[in-house]
């Protein structure tokens, strides 16, 4: 005062390491162990191939509506790769690549996409939340988890995913604010894939970047090329370190693109041009990462093909297994379970009512 610009101490940065043409900025290249690089590549390829296969299953009517991830693999894998098993993942609904990295089985994805509750079961050794459909509502759960970890004096962190559209929700704001106020170990990973169904990010917000929204919370924010796995990896590494060492949350905006439809119920031709999609196809994270690995002498065409056939087989086996498992899943009566730890009498009665009705219909079916 009297009239001056307010200087803000938190940083908002932009980061890119491996550009669209696969050119590497060596000064910034993160140090990633070879086995991790292989694992990242294999999971990226698996996620890509699985996505393709799910799409064809959906078109054949063998699974229900699902949300493809094509194009967003680097944003997911470059972030999730930093989590330890005890850390927490709180996803939205378009994080299949990250889930696969965490060990979710292909079968469970297929079973879930067939509308069976069995597909949401999470093994006890994975601290991963189930898919959250209500946009923007899940980030605050990560804040509670992170707070609890800190309370228990663990250095576990919580990583939560959401889209550009989710940043418009009040819950986004409240989650970031709580995380900052309580300095909880949370990494907010925004996959800015440019679209929220038919709404482009330019109509979602007037701010130039999503990363700068961090400034409202006194939190560091960084915008990375989300199709550049090295940049994503480097940014996430810093954020996870910050969280683990008690220095609070970070907002990471991964600039990426949803190369396919919003879900299989959506027709993107209604709202975006083929040219735009084509431009983003040029920035596909997968070939870019493969070029890097090849340049580094870690990957060859041959090796890649070998991994790919292995993956295709893995997917086929999973589909076969899932379809077999689902055959045994007809009985709806356990829909009453998992409402409460102990079933109240009114629910027991309703369960009996349905059991009875089902057996009567079965009888009638026999008669008729």
């Amino acid at each position: 005062m009297p009239r001056k610009k307010i200087t803000i101490s938190e940083k908002v940065e932009a980061l890119s390491i491996l550009d669209e043409k696969g050119r590497l900025d060596e000064k910034l290249e993160p140090d990633i162990a070879e086995d991790v690089l292989f694992q990242l590549h294999r999971t990226m390829l698996l996620a890509r191939k699985f996505d393709e296969r799910l799409l064809s299953l959906q078109r054949q009517g063998r699974i229900g509506t699902f949300a493809p991830i094509k194009g967003q693999e680097a944003a997911q894998l470059g972030t999730i790769a930093h989590l330890r098993p005890g850390d927490w993942m709180v996803p939205a609904f378009r994080e299949t690549a990250a889930e696969l990295w965490r060990g979710r089985s292909l079968e469970s994805v297929i079973i879930y996409n067939n509308g069976f509750n069995e597909g949401v079961a999470i093994p006890d050794d994975r601290n991963d939340f189930p898919i959250s459909v209500p946009v923007g509502s899940q980030m605050i759960h990560a804040v509670g988890l992170g707070w609890a970890a800190k309370y228990r004096q663990k250095d576990d962190v919580a990583m939560t995913y959401f889209g550009d559209g989710a940043t418009s929700q009040g819950d986004f704001h409240e989650a970031l604010n709580f995380a900052a106020v309580f300095q909880t170990p949370v990494i907010f990973v925004c996959q800015n894939n440019q679209w929220a169904i038919s709404i482009p990010v330019s109509q979602q917000t007037r701010s130039k970047t999503l990363a700068q929204k961090a400034l409202a919370y006194g939190m560091p924010g960084i915008q990375v090329d989300g199709n550049d796995i090295l940049a994503v990896y480097a940014a996430a590494q810093e954020a996870v370190q910050r969280a683990r060492s008690g220095d609070g949350p970070t907002l990471i905006e991964c600039v990426t693109y949803r190369l396919l439809m919003h879900t299989t119920a959506d027709d993107p031709k209604r709202y975006r041009t083929d040219e735009e999609v084509e431009q983003w196809n040029q920035r596909d994270p997968l070939p870019r990462f493969e070029k890097y690995l090849i340049d580094k002498g870690l990957l060859t065409e041959e090796k890649r093909n070998a991994v790919e056939s292995e993956i295709l087989e893995e997917i086929q086996t999973a589909i076969d297994r899932a379809e077999k498992q689902m055959e045994a899943m007809g009985d709806p009566i356990d829909m009453f379970d998992n409402t409460f730890a102990e079933m109240p009498s009114s629910l027991k009665e309703q369960k009996e009512e349905l059991t009875h009705a089902l057996s009567e219909s079965a009888e009638e079916g026999k008669d008729g």
Partner: protein, 327 residues
């Protein structure tokens, strides 16, 4: 007259009313360029431009809150909440404001807005896309809660909702969106809000339902006629709240027996209110306890098992026969 699906009929209502009344503004997620995820608002942005049809950011509370401001100004916003499962994000805007602004300002500001939202099961959708929780709104003073059961009444009720001086929550059954076609007159047609309809006459039993459950209910009535020789009277509520009980009471006084059907969870659901009104006003005419056929008190299961959750003709028949057998 043209044969239309409910989606087309709703679209017609919007399109005609927007032509007539420049106060009508459509807003919500994906309602513009995309035409709504179910295409109910298809073509409107083309015809009326982006000052009449607003593609909003992804925030239900703001969509409703902005509508409240527009309505108080004198416009007639029709907002879409993409699925009723996400209308709890704006529950406070409705309860704290939309339902009260007339009251709070002693009539100075009113909220003539419509909140359209798809509800209900039966279309193999994801979690949160199949619920039926009209009771939340029905229990909230200051709101009208309307649920059409077919293309023609959907169009006519939406027209009335847009002209209503008070906030209307308008539930559209996804299962009905494209399930069948009906003749829908090109000429304007409006149905009064607050008037249930007797859609089938009968003396033996009253079946009361609304929305997507009307179809299995009517099917059950037909089967009762065909196989049991029973004449069931069927009432389509159309307006859930404020509940106009008169026609229900008249019917039950005649039949002495009733079944109420809805897909919402049973406990503290709409059927309870209907049963209570009948108990209060037709108790001495009742020859058997009223039965309800409803969803269960659980989260509706993921789509592969939702059929077992939803009421169907068979369950309605079973309840009807139970009520008929009692004495």
């Amino acid at each position: 007259m043209a044969k239309m699906t409910m989606v087309q009929a709703l679209n017609l209502a919007l399109q005609q009313e927007m032509e007539k009344d420049d106060r009508v503004i459509v807003l919500g997620e994906d309602v513009g360029v995309d035409g709504g995820v179910f295409r109910v608002t298809d073509g409107l942005i083309k015809q009326f431009g982006d000052q009449r049809v607003l593609d909003t950011p992804l925030a239900e509370s703001a969509i409703v809150g902005m509508s409240i401001g527009m309505a108080a100004y004198g416009l007639r916003p029709v907002c879409e909440i993409q699925f009723s499962g996400f209308s709890y994000q704006n529950f406070h805007q409705i309860e704290n404001h939309a339902a009260r602004l007339r009251w709070r300002s002693r009539g100075r500001f009113t909220v003539p807005m419509v909140l359209r939202t798809p509800y209900g099961g039966g279309v193999r959708a994801l979690e949160h896309h199949s619920e039926s929780r009209e009771a939340y709104w029905a229990h909230t003073p200051g709101l009208k809660m309307v649920i059409p059961s077919g293309p023609r009444n959907a169009r006519a009720l939406l027209v009335s909702a847009m002209r209503d001086p008070d906030p209307v929550i308008f539930y559209e059954s996804k299962a009905l969106y494209r399930a069948f076609r009906e003749e829908v007159p090109e000429a304007e047609e409006a149905l009064p809000i607050g008037e249930p309809q007797r859609v089938r006459e009968g003396e033996d039993l009253t079946l009361i339902s609304y929305g997507a459950m009307m179809r299995p209910t009517l099917e059950a009535a037909q089967q009762l006629q065909d196989t049991d020789g029973i004449a069931a009277e069927v009432i389509d509520l159309l307006t859930i709240s404020p509940l106009a009980e008169k026609i229900l009471i008249q019917s039950v006084k005649k039949t002495g027996r009733a079944v109420v059907i809805h897909e919402a969870p049973r406990s503290f659901g709409p059927a309870a209110e209907i049963m209570s009104r009948l108990m209060e006003k037709a108790f001495y005419y009742l020859e058997a306890p009223i039965e309800r056929v409803t969803g269960y008190d659980i989260v509706i299961p993921l789509f592969n098992r939702e059929k077992a959750y939803l009421p169907n003709t068979e369950r309605i028949l079973r309840a009807a026969r139970k009520v008929l057998a009692a004495s």
